[in-house]
């Protein structure tokens, strides 16, 4: 096993990896941009190195600098987390070339499976159904012609993409060119690669993905599915496993297809095959993520496997410690992504200081947080504060536990969060019945507004009592009776601002 490892990431996933390393006795080196000098992942690591200014291209995407830091600190491996450099084959090559271990698949496997377009070709060859699309050319005229052939509505997607970045939904030919341009710019900015491709939009699908794992001895398994149909802006916000849609037969067929694909490609380490499943339970391969997923914890909870530790073990050359038959799902897990964003305003990101974060604590409740009390949410990165994950005995139990946990998750400050929205998602009849498709949020929660409205009297009373307790009447302050309430004396309250 490695004795020292660099984490080429930030936020909750860096924290998650650092903790796994600490348990395994692996020393950790964190990296940070100027925006993150005081953040949690930096505080928890054994050592930390500044990489550069806030923009990702100059910090968390600065491959050469990051590798140099790893070498300078005597690291033996680099864990890329998700996002940033995690699916960058050039980076994986450079890591290997510098004599370090990249915790993930080989660059070759990454190229053949990680590229959305190459993976589609590979799957088609292996007989796995794929979503109809076009990926032959980057030329605008070719793309326009192909779009007509595929038919609208369709999706413009970034070849190097993930997390909904560089993705645009196009409903008519007139929208195509602006969508191509905007998607390319966003893709270049996020991944340093502006290639795009087209994909037909499947009508109201479920988004269901399979976790796979391969080792260096030719063994591969899947760790079952994750249902990720609750999305906004093409990005998952609630995930669960098992999927309420799959039955044993479909689960087995999809899992076997996933394992076959992984074995055919000689894929090692953790990966995820995303599928769309339509109303007739046809499944279509969508893309492969050649890295750890954000939503990996729900798989950990129902399978009992620590995926980050397994990544490290497999990267260090250990064989998978189980075969497919050893694995089974137990209980029901749900993850909610706690974002700094405003669900009442197109889910646009919010920024500000987190003055107080109180994470829920209880049996079966797990919080993977990257941001906590005192931290600043800035413009520069993904606005996810934390992942709230629960394991229940079954789906209703897990929903009850998640609603409890959401109601007990306190985030105070100028930063707006999606917690009240998530609570309404969990309470929605379509979610409760397990009948969510990827258009659920757009269709059924359009125009969502927080129920809270103006502060009720009890909240005002609480604020006033807290203000009073924070600044009790000064020793010299004149005592005033009820009748005197408008005397200037009792206007010296801690929160007396402005006039009436």
């Amino acid at each position: 096993m490695f004795s020292k490892l660099l984490i080429a990431n930030r936020g909750e996933i860096a924290v998650r990896i650092i903790r796994a390393c600490q348990e395994m006795g692996i020393a950790t080196v964190a990296i940070y941009s100027d925006a993150d000098a005081d953040s949690l992942h930096v505080a928890l690591a054994d050592a930390a190195a500044r990489i550069g200014p806030p923009p990702p291209a100059e910090s968390y995407l600065a491959a050469d600098k990051i590798i140099q830091v790893a070498l300078d600190h005597g690291c033996e491996a680099i864990h890329p987390g998700y996002g940033f450099l995690s699916e960058n084959a050039t980076f994986a090559d450079a890591v290997a070339a510098s004599g370090l271990t990249f915790v993930g698949p080989s660059a070759a496997a990454m190229r053949s499976l990680g590229s959305k377009t190459a993976a589609r070709s590979l799957m088609q060859a292996a007989g796995v159904p794929v979503v109809p699309g076009y990926q032959a050319s980057q030329d605008a005229a070719d793309l326009a012609a192909a779009a007509d052939a595929v038919g609208y509505p369709l999706l413009v997607k970034a070849t190097a993409g993930g997390g909904g970045k560089g993705m645009r939904s196009v409903h008519a030919r007139t929208e195509l060119l602006p969508a191509l341009e905007s998607a390319r710019r966003e893709a270049m900015n996020a991944f340093g690669d502006d290639r795009i491709y087209l994909e037909k939009q499947i009508e109201r699908p479920h988004h269901i993905e399979f976790q796979v794992f391969g080792d260096h001895f030719g063994h591969a398994v899947h760790l079952f599915e994750r249902e990720c149909s609750v999305q906004r802006r093409h990005q998952k916000i609630v995930e669960e496993t098992p999927s309420p849609l799959l039955d044993g037969g479909l689960r087995r067929r999809m899992g076997e297809a996933a394992v076959e694909a992984v074995k055919a490609a000689g894929y090692t380490n953790a990966g995820t095959l995303e599928f769309l499943v339509d109303a007739q339970r046809n499944f279509y391969f969508l893309e492969m993520n050649t890295r750890l997923q954000v939503e990996h914890p729900i798989t950990e909870l129902v399978t009992g496997v620590d995926l980050v530790k397994l990544q490290l073990r497999v990267a260090a050359g250990e064989p998978l410690p189980f075969v497919q038959a050893d694995l089974r799902q137990r209980g029901h897990a749900i993850e909610c992504r706690i974002y700094a964003e405003d669900p009442a305003n197109q889910f646009l990101p919010a920024i500000g200081k987190v003055l107080l974060a109180v994470e829920p604590v209880g049996p079966g409740v797990r919080v993977d947080a990257g941001v906590t009390t005192g931290d600043e949410v800035t413009l520069h990165y993904d606005p996810m504060l934390a992942k709230l994950i629960v394991l229940g005995e079954n789906r209703p139990d897990a929903i009850g536990k998640m609603r409890w946990a959401l109601s007990h998750y306190v985030v105070l400050g100028d930063v707006i969060t999606n917690i009240p929205f998530l609570n309404d998602v969990l309470a929605h009849p379509r979610f409760v019945s397990g009948d969510t498709t990827t258009d659920f949020v757009d269709r059924d929660l359009a125009g969502w507004q927080p129920a809270a409205g103006a502060a009720p009297d009890l909240a005002l009373a609480a604020a006033a009592i807290a203000d009073l307790l924070a600044a009790p009447a000064a020793a010299g302050e004149k005592s005033v009776t009820d009748g005197d309430r408008f005397s200037p004396w009792n206007r010296a309250g801690a929160f007396r601002l402005g006039g009436q």
Binding site: P56, K165, S182, R185, E186, N189, N345, Q346, L348, P349, A350, K353, L355, L356, L379, D382, S407, H408, V410, L412, G413, D414, I419, P420, P450, A452, A454, A455, D457, L458, A459, L460, A461, A462, A463, A464, I465, A466, D467, L468, L469, A470, P472, A473, E477, S479, V480, T481, D482, D484, R485, F486, N490, G493, F495, R496, L497, G498, G499, Q500
Partner: protein, 165 residues
């Protein structure tokens, strides 16, 4: 008994809260509503309340100007009752385009005097690797451009003023 007065703005309303304290017992008057509460400040911003035999846990945080209250899973931000603030909000009529998220101005695609059509993109904003188009809500003429490429803008900040046609 000492009575303290506090004022908070919530939504568009300014509310006056009068508090009398005796030990951990409080009488709170808000308009005609009189609440008899017991309260105790615990660690970590938690305020334990009891009202009519019902126990509740509030969390309170404070910045210089604002109070943040969490109660039963809901959160409210209380503003200081600043009349200027109120006026500024009201000034946001349909002819002005404000930043709907905090971010960096990627590009300004119009200049003062330009004629624009409904749906035209006026400004490109970016934050957290996400791009957002600020579009014209109706046809008109650009009266003023109040931002420039590269500038960091706050949520709600005025970016472009349109003159009605």
């Amino acid at each position: 008994m000492t009575v303290r007065e506090f004022q908070y703005q919530t939504g568009d309303e300014v509310r006056t809260v009068l508090v009398e304290a005796q030990g951990d017992q409080f009488v709170v008057r808000i308009g005609d509503n009189v609440l008899h509460l017991s309260a105790r400040l615990a660690a970590n911003g938690r305020l334990d309340l009891e009202l009519d035999g019902r126990r509740l846990r509030a969390y309170i945080a404070r910045s210089d100007a604002r109070r943040y209250v969490s109660l039963a899973g809901n959160t409210w931000t209380l503003q200081p009752p600043d009349p200027r603030r109120l006026r500024r909000h009201e000034a946001n009529d349909g002819g002005s385009l404000t930043a709907t998220m905090p971010g960096r101005v990627l590009d300004v695609l119009v200049a003062a005097g330009d004629q624009v059509q409904k749906g035209d993109t006026l400004v490109l904003l970016e934050a957290m690797k996400m791009e957002l188009r600020i579009q014209a809500p109706a046809a008109g003429q650009v009266a003023r451009v109040l931002c420039a490429a590269g500038e960091v803008v706050e949520r709600g900040q005025l970016l472009v003023e349109l003159a009605k046609p």
